[in-house]
Amino acid sequence: MAQTTANGTEVSPQNSSPAERLLFGGLGVGLILLSLRQRGNSGVFLGTSGALLLSGAAMGRSVGSALTQVRRTEDDQIAVARAVTIGKSVDELYTFWRDFENLPRFMDHLESVKVQGGDGRRSHWVAKAPAGTTVEWDAEITEDEPGRRIAWRSLEGATVPNEGHVEFRPAPGDWGTEIHVSLTYRPPGGTLGAVVARLLGEEPGAQVGEDLRRLKRLLEVGQEPTTEGQPSARKGVMKAEAKMYDNRRTT
């Protein structure tokens, strides 16, 4: 699952092979199912272990390294590339993305982006951090080819120096447009660095993939599907189990 980014850095956003994922996913499912036959603590333990294995498999992470920290490239950068196909025209997608204030509508970790100045090339970004805090930086657009490509990079002084670009390519047939996104960032050292890295980088590939899926659903359907708030006969610990399965909270 290694990917080569535009500047040639090798990263592996997912560190378990498909076979490993299938095996651990299967084990996870098995443990969960076994847990359903057990009463009391042993059942809860089996269920939890199973859910951990399954979610590890789902996110492409082996269990051991899930407990450790972020994987970085040799020069200590994190780089990810992801793509999605959306049933909209190149121009619609370019126009939507070029207004950076739209980005927090589908990028989950962003709280806001404020475009500054007349040409819209400079912007101020606020990202969510743990315990209700935020991380902020300024960025500028470095390339802007209407209908084709936008690139941006954080300005001097950012806590987490980062850059990214997005390309819009017409998809074959009537599939619409392929959006290809690449992000590179260099988490700082120290405690704040670790916090930020966890926030932005623990599973950067998966996070960008999820962001792009949200963008697709926002533009194609107008909303994310949800089961949050639907009825069930769940009690106690089973609510937690359901939450482990569901991307969005389920009650």
Binding site: L36, E220, P225, P231, T250
Partner: protein, 402 residues
């Protein structure tokens, strides 16, 4: 409201749960007037489809009357009588726009689970585990339905609930199973499994021009019904199925073979026992693929294997050598229910297809545990069981869970 709830492997109960509410502007609430138990529900109850959680409401075959719609619903109004296709279509993605609604890109809220197991996620499904979205099912007095304009299908005047209920799943599933057989006029089609989907597959194969249909099962009442629909039958407990199929087709083998059994097939012999043992771990092998193996072996050279039966995960010893060397084609998939609704409703209105013939049991929702029990074990001649969510419990004796 009352709802049929999954409470663990082999534990189904009827519980009182809160009524569903409109959660998104494109939702509609349906007062369920009829619902059915499906063979796929047994895979959930038996614990072979992962990611069920205690308290999940079961049921993906249901219909009723719309009682409330969200502010963005345009085409559906309270009072409309509707059937609810079990796969959920967003109506907007490439798959939905091309009639492949069970492959919808946007309707599964938990696609990462499905992607881990299958590489990509299909659509959300009602009442069918968290891999397919975790949506509450419709074996209940009310159900929340989503993307109402894209999914709720208005029932024409003059058709009864029983005539249209199976449009939600098994009738289109049998039809797509037959369509996937790639039938040319006069072809011989073999159907493994004479449960509801197999029976509708037989009906549909004739509608699509099959000359002969050979149906395979072991339960006399199912084989009787298959014969009534015009099929020749084989009882796999009495007949050597492969040899008989070959002989009945002049040594060629059937032009197409349908596996309408899926992941809990029954087979004797060392292979069947090995599957059953491995499957109890839920890890080494999740699916018992005996019918699929038999279908691949029996099909004539260059023929087509159609798989409407449900498979969930991993199956061993698929005869891929036979598949390749005989030049077979395999076609499968969760049913794209929406694309068949107009066609099949027309067949029902004109009396060319009578879906009610498979109904053997009509029970109140309070009897759901008993209904699951007799359907699973084929007791009491049970072929298809439908539930009335509003039946007075006093009319029905309480029964114990399976």
């Amino acid at each position: 409201m009352k709802a049929v709830v999954w409470q663990g492997i082999n534990r189904v109960q009827v519980e009182n749960v809160p009524d569903p509410e409109i959660l998104q502007p494109t939702d509609a609430i349906v007062r369920v007037t009829a619902t059915a138990i499906c063979g796929s529900d047994l895979h959930l109850v038996d614990g072979y489809v992962p990611s069920m959680v205690h308290g999940d409401i079961l049921g993906h075959e249901f219909m009723g009357e719309v009682v409330e719609v969200g502010p963005e619903v345009r085409d559906v109004r309270p009072g409309d009588r509707v059937v609810v296709p079990f796969p959920i279509s967003c109506g907007k993605c490439w798959y939905c726009q091309h009639g492949l609604t069970s492959l919808c890109d946007n309707s599964n809220p938990n696609p990462k689970l499905a992607e881990a197991l299958w590489g990509y996620s299909g659509s959300g499904l009602y009442g069918y585990s968290h891999i397919t979205g975790g949506y509450a099912g419709g074996q209940a007095q009310f159900a929340r339905t989503v993307y109402a304009d894209q999914n709720l299908y208005k029932v024409p005047e003059g058709l009864t609930d029983e005539q249209v209920l199976f449009l939600t799943d098994i009738l289109p599933t049998g039809y797509m199973g037959a369509e996937n057989c790639n039938i040319h006029p006069g072809d011989v089609v073999a159907v493994f499994g004479c449960g509801p989907v197999g029976l509708f597959g037989i009906m549909s194969a004739f509608v699509l021009g099959a000359g002969r249909v050979i149906a395979i099962d072991r339960f006399p009442e199912r084989l009787d019904l298959a014969r009534k629909l015009g099929a020749e039958t084989l009882n796999y407990e009495e007949d050597a199925v492969f040899e008989r199929l070959k002989e009945m087709t002049g040594g060629r083998g059937p032009d197409s073979v349908m596996d309408a059994v899926g992941l809990e097939s029954h087979a004797g012999g060392p292979g069947g026992v090995a599957d059953a043992v491995k499957q109890t771990t839920r890890v080494l092998e999740s699916d018992r693929p005996h019918a699929l193996r038999a279908a691949i072996m029996a099909c004539r050279k260059g023929g087509t294997v159609s798989v409407p039966g449900v498979y969930g995960g991993l199956a061993d010893k698929i005869p891929v050598g036979a598949f390749m060397n005989k030049g077979l084609t395999m076609r499968t998939g969760q049913t794209h229910v929406h694309r068949y609704l107009d066609t099949l409703t027309g067949h029902i209105e004109r009396g060319e297809v009578d879906p009610t013939v498979i109904i053997t049991h009509r029970l109140g929702i309070d009897e759901a545990p008993h209904a699951y029990d007799i359907f699973k074990h084929k007791h009491d001649g049970c072929i298809k069981c439908i539930l009335d969510p509003w039946a007075d419990p006093k009319d029905h004796a309480p029964t114990k869970a399976p």
